[in-house]
Symmetry: C2
Subunit: 182 residues, 2 copies
């Protein structure tokens, strides 16, 4: 971030009056440009003991498997975002139940929300950003070919919790100064 | 948003190739400037049947009561953000238990997360952005002087749920095309 999105003038990086953090501030119009974490929303779709995974057609991690998920847009709810991403990436209509994982990924300023879901009808296919959409049993999960740590963590929690039949919200903090999962 | 934060050139508003939404795109360097919802995190602090509210010292809604909450910063987890905001606004150390409300406020592109919490020690005070911090019983809640609809909704759910002793995560979608609370 180098220029002011309001007036086009150069930015400086300083602590504004009354603040306690460095911000990008316009040298001309003095607009403060705050930066905040972005939300990624998606679904852990379960169908007859199997999980729906998508092989990524795009970078990062092209060719690796992930849960259908992506950046939340303005003017939608978290659940609408999770359903939309599942529709776009796996061409299926997710029926959402509970929020299951809430992961704070500090190094890249992302908050990932994964909802448990089923499919309205068991039809799915690869969307534009997906090479292949496929259902996997626990034994079939390609652990070494998962795209992201958040995905493997969510799946591990899921298979553990499924044994108990209880799916409490899982908070996962990745690369915090004090890493915690619960 | 009028100018590119990367190169300072004017932006246009168009659907980029391979996308299906209008975005701000630089007319010179072609950088796409995505806009995403911001997260507000805070705490519903309970102490001996009472709730901690803060009277706002700043706009919007100066002089009205709210739960301690504010914009999540980069490089922190959702729980760290809720604890930090409670410290800043009510000068107390929150001990967080469950995520309690997850509110999507579509018209202003905010996602609000409120955690149930207690206080490490029952000491609290007004922070810089607070005129007064005070504990309220249910009967004392100043319903007509609450700052935001999200706050009154969270408190109503809380007092209902407290009767049952169960506090499931409450999804609240405000001003959606299909408004839902559950």
């Amino acid at each position: 971030m180098k220029f002011c999105s309001q007036c086009g003038s150069p930015l400086c990086f300083k602590v504004p009056a009354g603040d306690n953090r460095h911000r990008f501030v316009c040298t001309e119009c003095h607009e403060i440009h705050y930066q905040n974490p972005k939300i990624v929303a998606g679904c852990l779709v379960v169908h007859e003991e199997k999980i729906l995974l998508c092989k990524r057609a795009i970078e990062p991690r092209q060719g690796y498997w992930t849960l259908p998920a992506g950046f939340m847009e303005n003017s939608e709810s978290t659940r609408e975002a999770a359903i939309r991403e599942t529709r776009e990436e796996a061409c299926t209509e997710a029926i959402i139940s509970d929020l299951y994982t809430l992961t704070s990924i500090m190094p890249i300023d992302q908050i990932q929300m994964i909802y448990l879901a089923s499919m309205a009808t068991p039809n799915y296919a690869a969307g534009d950003e997906t090479l292949e959409a496929k259902l996997f049993t626990e034994a079939e999960i390609p652990w070494d070919e998962l795209a992201f740590e958040t995905i493997s963590t969510a799946l591990k929690f899921f298979f553990e919790d499924r044994k108990k039949g209880l799916f409490p919200l899982r908070h996962i903090d990745l690369n915090s100064k004090k890493p915690t999962t619960e």
